[in-house]
Amino acid sequence: MLSDLLIRARALFRRKAVESELDDELRFHFEQQVEKLVQSGLPLPEARRRARLEFGGSDQIKEECRDARGVSLLEALAQDIRFGLRMLRKSPGFTAVAVLTLALGIGANTAIFSVVQGVLLAPLPYREPDRLVTVWLNNFRLQSPTDLSYRDFLDWQLGALPFENMSAYAWRSFDLSSPGNPEHLEGREISSSFLSTLGVGLALGREFSVEEDRNAGAPVAIISNGLWRDRFGGSAAALGKPIVLDGVETTVVGVLRPDFRFGTGYADVYIPIGQRKLVDANDRTAHDVECVARLKPGVSLGQAEAEMNAIQENIDRLNPETEQGLGAKIIPAKEPLVGDVRGTLLLLLGAVGVVLLIACANVASLLLARSAARAREFSIRAALGAGRGRIVRQLITESVLLSVLGGVLGLAAAKWGLSAALATLAADLPRSDNIHVNASVLFFALGVSIVVGILFGLAPALRSARADLQPSLNEGGRGSTGGHHRTQSGLVIVQIALTLVLLAGAGLLFRSIQHLWKADLGFESQHLLTFQVGLSPSATKTGAGVRAAYQQLLDRIRQIPGVQSAEITTEVPMTHQVNAIPFWVDSHRPASVAEAPRTLGFITGPDFQQVMRMPLIRGRFIGRQDTIDSSLVAVIDSELARTYFPGKDPIGRTITFPQVGDYRIIGVVGHVQHWQVGFSSPFTQNQSYVSIYQIQDRWMTTIDTWTWVVVRTPLDASAVLPEIRKAVFGAASDQTVYHAQTMPAIVSESMSPQRFPLILLGSFAGLALLLASIGIYGVISYSVTLRVHEIGIRMALGAQTRAVFRMMIGHGLRLALAGVATGVAAALILIRLLSSFTHLLYGVGADDPVTFTAVSLLVTGVAILACYIPARRAAKVDPMVALRYE
């Protein structure tokens, strides 16, 4: 065996040497023979002549020696490929259909794989990302990991044994007023060790020092590469230059690299988190800090979590009032980023795999039909001594050639389709800027092509090689192909069943979105517009100043023609703002604040209920008479009322927000869908409303970064927004308008978990339907070709054209119905299984009869349509021609 390989390898790679050795060997023999003849007394020329005669054709000997040494495997492969290409060129129609079909299948798979690769599989772009984790506060009562307070973080950092490095960061936006035009920017407060925890370097400058990451440290900032190019023209002289953030002159000490990303959002400005106000820094109930840490080598998640829990337990014991019932939760850094889409992406990968299976079935079916036509070729080759293995290898080579051609085309299609899809869908995906057609995607496409080629080539190849020589040689080339035909019919049934599964999935998603649009939001989203305003720094120095600024701002906006009403609020539904505050009613104070229930705190003006058109159930909404000087009042929603005042009237009762105060309940409003339309959410459902004009000064001065304006107007947003901007600048020229959105757009955006898979699943299902109809068309049309003779006899014996037509359609219909039945059964099981762990369906059951009836009818209809052309051809068969065909 080894010598065999060595000799084959030598024949391949040392071809010249082997050939010249062969020459030498044969020449030696010839000369020996001549010498022998000379010794026996012949003259030299005669001896030569005799030897040459005996020798025969030396080229022929050499050829046989080469054969004896064995044709190298690669040479055989090259031969097969050349032959395969010739065969494919000879039937361009077949080749084109097969390659296109495969290109669609492989292309779709490659595209989805590149998304999965970029989003789920690719490591985070930091040093040793496997050791990076996010650390959360775990509220045992609420059963959910939450942000921590900066105070907690500092305590954790002191005792954090399992981590090499631990850094806090918090979201914060800024109004940049110099250099350049005033602009509202997203930013972060970060620990001094933030970038070294991630293990990323800066393009320019340095990280914050420990001294700067403290209260009363020098105001410094690190800025994004984009902002640096924008505001400083990309000059290195930016270091040490000031920028003005929220009215504070801040020195730029570092510039980030252009490819730096962290988390889901984008940020332009970073400042030291240690410089936050002492009151915020020491408040353990203000949970607005997130934490990223690098595990020490060899420390497991479980170990780290146990150690952190021990530290938090200590903190709990020292601060029972606020901390009792809190622990730590450690999650790999990639998880919070991609956790939501993992299920969806894997679902899509499965769906697109089904499309590929359907494509394979199509090509296998085509190959079967072709191998029936080539049966004589194989019989002759087998009769001439080609082994079965040789024929199978030839056929597999041909099918892999097809699939690799399809793969190349598919890769091009994937690259094109991906950029088109990302242009519309990128916003629905985390890490979407990480999606590329890279080496691993290429590798995937190649691997899939080869596997697929073998997969769909194997059955037809084995069939052909197993075929008996005799019948097909005897039959004069019109092979009996009952077996082929049965396999093809089976393939069509499978295709239709798979298509139905995809269509049912897409159909259910479509119905879910239909239902979502009809779902009661708790307010009227039409004609609502929302945006944020960066108040002038001069206005935010005192609480009274902010209150006055808002009143002035709203007066101006309300005067714009077409604006019906306008109000401010800290929470806009479905924009993912979380102001979840602890509360208790009456005297039900829990032992620790951490153990108190949570409510979403809407801090609004008195017109909010009217602007949103929320139903008022009892009592009244907050009014203009509720000011900083009057007693504190709150409005609760029906959810909070139902849970905490079951069967009782909450009006006049007390709701307490710790550190804020005791509020008298004056009204109950309807519940608003805050998280996502239609879906129960693990997040806080209780909602309560307090007046922004009753908020104490200490919060009032920073409230503008999380305050929104909602405006009700029947006018188009694009018409009103310029007017609004004018009004805002009119109130104070250094104020900015940002995050402007219409409410319908926000609602629609909140459906992206359904919309994103619907669009893709819908296109895959369409693709599958197309492929399956080509498949059924192929089978019926092939069956017509096979049965021309039979049809001719039937018609000669008096069968009506219509009867023949019906017979062929009936054949297709039987296949379609078998496929539909199988598909419905499979879909019922599969979708029930899937819907149990992906929350995509709303308002429809996994066995929604409307959806299933519709897709079954659709598939059957398309199948009949696909049979129509070949059936018509069958009905038009001329009996004379068909019988003479023999």
Partner: protein, 110 residues
């Protein structure tokens, strides 16, 4: 030269070559000469079958080749039996004996 040649049955050439090489390494010409002599000039191996056979046996690992000097001091390719070739020779020899015995019995000469 009197022509006593008979056609070799399929497979026997390999046996003859292996047997010849069992006596020691030889080059192709000497192998054919030796078969000719030992068979009392009955068996003449054509070059056209000898060399392909040698290359086939080499590929199977039953013989191996090396270049050396011939008796008249010229460069020649010598073949020699390998360990597995020796085993193969024994196997083929006993096969052959069984075959000839059987054929002889059928012909009624044994």
């Amino acid at each position: 030269m009197p022509d006593h040649r008979i056609d070799l049955p399929q497979g026997t050439l390999d046996l003859l070559i292996l047997r010849t090489l069992a006596l020691g390494p030889e080059h192709g010409w000497a192998i054919s000469e030796r078969i000719h002599q030992i068979s009392s000039n009955v068996l003449l191996v054509q070059q056209g079958s000898l060399y392909p056979a040698l290359h086939r046996l080499e590929r199977r690992g039953w013989i191996k080749a090396r270049w050396g000097a011939s008796e008249n001091n010229r460069r020649a390719k010598f073949y020699e039996l390998t360990q597995s070739g020796r085993k193969q020779l024994e196997a083929e020899k006993s096969e052959w004996k069984k075959l000839t015995l059987a054929v002889a019995q059928v012909l009624g000469t044994a």
